[in-house]
Amino acid sequence: MPDSIHEHALFSAFDALIFQKTAGQFECLGGLPSWFPPSGVLQGPEGTPEKLLEVSFFLQHFLRDVGPWWESNKVGQMKSGLWSETAIFGEDVILEATAVYQGGQRYLVLQRFGSDMLPVQPLLQKAREEQLSHRASIHLHERTEARLGTQLAKSEQERDDLLAVLDGLRLGTIMTDANGVVTFLSGKAQELLQVDSAKVLGCTLPAGLGWKGEYTNRIEEMGKVTEAGRQPISVVVERKKRPSVSLEVDVHDDPRGSRKKILFLKDVTEVEELRRQLTGPTQFHRLIGKSPAMRAVYERIRDIATVDVSVLIQGETGTGKELVARALHDFSLRKDRPFVAVNCAGLTESLLGSQLFGHKRGAFTGAVQDHEGFFEAADGGTLFLDEIGDMPLPIQTTLLRVLQEGEIIRLGESRPRVVNVRVLAATNQDLPSLVESGRFRSDLLYRIRVARLQLPPLRERREDIPLLSLAFLEKARVIIGKIGVRDIAQTAMQCFLRYSWPGNVRELKGALDYALIHCRSNSILPDDLPPEFRELSPSIGSLSGPGVRDQRQEILEALKHVNGRRAQAAKLLNMSRSTFYRRMRELSIPMDDQSS
């Protein structure tokens, strides 16, 4: 027990709760501190300082530790460390207990710290917060890095997967930027084009790939059309020491900007080869057609091209006589020398004469200069005289002499000039009947028709009509600028197949141009055709193909001619009897019983 008033005053000044332990009992010394009773369970009459020692879990725990120490009678003190106990003191009240052994007495001192009174708290708080925020920023950094890393890896993976798929599909890929500069070239594309991407990247297509301007222009053109209207472009790539490849190039807009393009290269070499094998030659030089009649023409051209003689090419107007002449020239030994074509129709005698043989200055009014004629111009090469049936007789005479002597004399000159020219002549007239009527010299006829070549009219090779019309369409839609028109409707083709084509291939080409100009959809319809096709309604039925009507007519006429005797009719038509019967059945021609 404190017996001094001074002691009491001293304890009070600490603002602490001080107990003295005597005979197993704790007794509170001095006055109560300002913080007692606290805001929790000790409120009320029961809430004595001694009660605190009972209810505080922490103090009980501490006193268990302190007991043996007090018993050891060592002078000094033992601290509990800071603690708080919500149920007793409420939040934010921190205390510390100190056990003291002094002068043989045991004391327990309880001190309270407000959060403001604890210098250690803000320090710790700051240190820990700093550590947290530092860590957070590192973490953010790491996560961003990791995310970018995965995204990059993912997009690279996706790109690789995509390329593997494309390569697997045998699709080459080229990407170009808004300026047409190549930014990407897949492995397959490099293989197909036999180029090294390092040499192509950064170049434009014409510069990087060395393709013909024709191809790159078409690719560029195609890029300007809306995607729906685009067509694959056929490109044939010649490769060093390896067979050439046929490619179909699809032009797509890059989804990231339509001025950037993605080109897909499809290797169609095999397909092309198969197609060629299946269809046989569909074209010879610039002549188109795979009908037996045309194949015979091709063969004949090959046969006579290299024999250096005059050729008379006969055929109706528009059958392509000049194309034959050019083919003959190009397959001849003269192919590197000039090919000169002259149309003999519609020119006056003197004009045609000076055109062919040339003239001296002043030879006639208007001849202001010396003039070299076509014969001289064609020296060493080929002169093609079209419409030779219209050539005036005096010119025929001169021509005959030139052909016989191998020299020409310019009008107004007397000096002959040696010329070495192969003459190819063409006509759509029947020259022998012109000879008969005295309008054509027979000796010239014999001279020019050393070799002869007959071109069939289109109506006699109707099976070539689809091929021809599609070939013309392919060219014309680019020239006319209707790239979207891709084919000819079956109904329109039926009209073409039924028409008699007096103007032959030239007329077909004209009809196609007309139709293309009038066409509003992506295929040519009967309504787009010129007026002469209007009556040819496709109602006859799709079974009757080219030439069907003619054949039926032919057979009926033959039967009529021989009074219905089939064996004779067959003979007349140069057919075996079995073929004849089969045809009759196919063409539903009724068999009259009385005829054999």
Binding site: H61, L82, W83, A87, L124, A127, R128, E129, R135
Partner: protein
């Protein structure tokens, strides 16, 4: 009523105080106020049909500034080891504290909690990383003091484990 002392152990700011506050008062605060010293709370629960007073010793976060005193662990029937699921490094602290506790008290029941599970985007810990520790715990669980997810169940599991031992 039977009393059981439970210590909350873990690195600083892993959410020990928040978990106790969620469990005792059902509230949560985003503000971080680091615990100085020992903070004592209590709540009654029923385990195996018996009422039990859990006395929760929320110990300050163990770090370079403050080390948990062995004497504070004395008398514990179990403990809750808390890891901050958004900070991997708090696993190491948990492992260290587990070793320290076992050395001081011998093996007693504990639950291992991966706290802050609501922060999915920042989640950085997965179960294999804590599997060694987890095998010794009577429960390993992801929890959130913020949403309360898993908190009751974790304390219940520990209470259960303490009554049977």
């Amino acid at each position: 009523m039977v009393q059981k002392k439970i210590c909350m152990l873990g690195g600083f700011a892993v959410g020990k105080t928040s978990l106790v506050r969620r469990f005792v008062s059902g509230i949560f605060s985003e503000k971080y106020l680091t615990t100085v010293g020992v903070k004592i709370d209590q709540r009654t629960v029923t385990a195996k049909g018996k009422e039990l007073l859990l006395v929760l010793w929320d110990l300050y976060g163990d770090d370079d500034y403050q080390k948990v005193r062995a004497s504070y662990l004395q008398g514990s029937s179990g403990y809750i080891l808390v890891i901050d699921g958004t900070r991997k490094e708090t696993i190491d602290v948990a492992i260290r504290l587990h070793e320290f506790t076992t050395a001081t008290l011998g093996p007693i029941p504990f639950v291992l909690l991966l706290n802050k599970y609501d922060l999915e985007d920042e989640w950085a810990v997965d179960l294999p990383m804590v599997s060694d520790l987890g095998q010794k715990a009577c429960l390993v669980s992801t929890v959130s003091a913020k949403t309360g997810e898993g908190v009751e169940a974790a304390f219940a599991a520990l209470a259960e484990a303490m009554t049977s031992s």
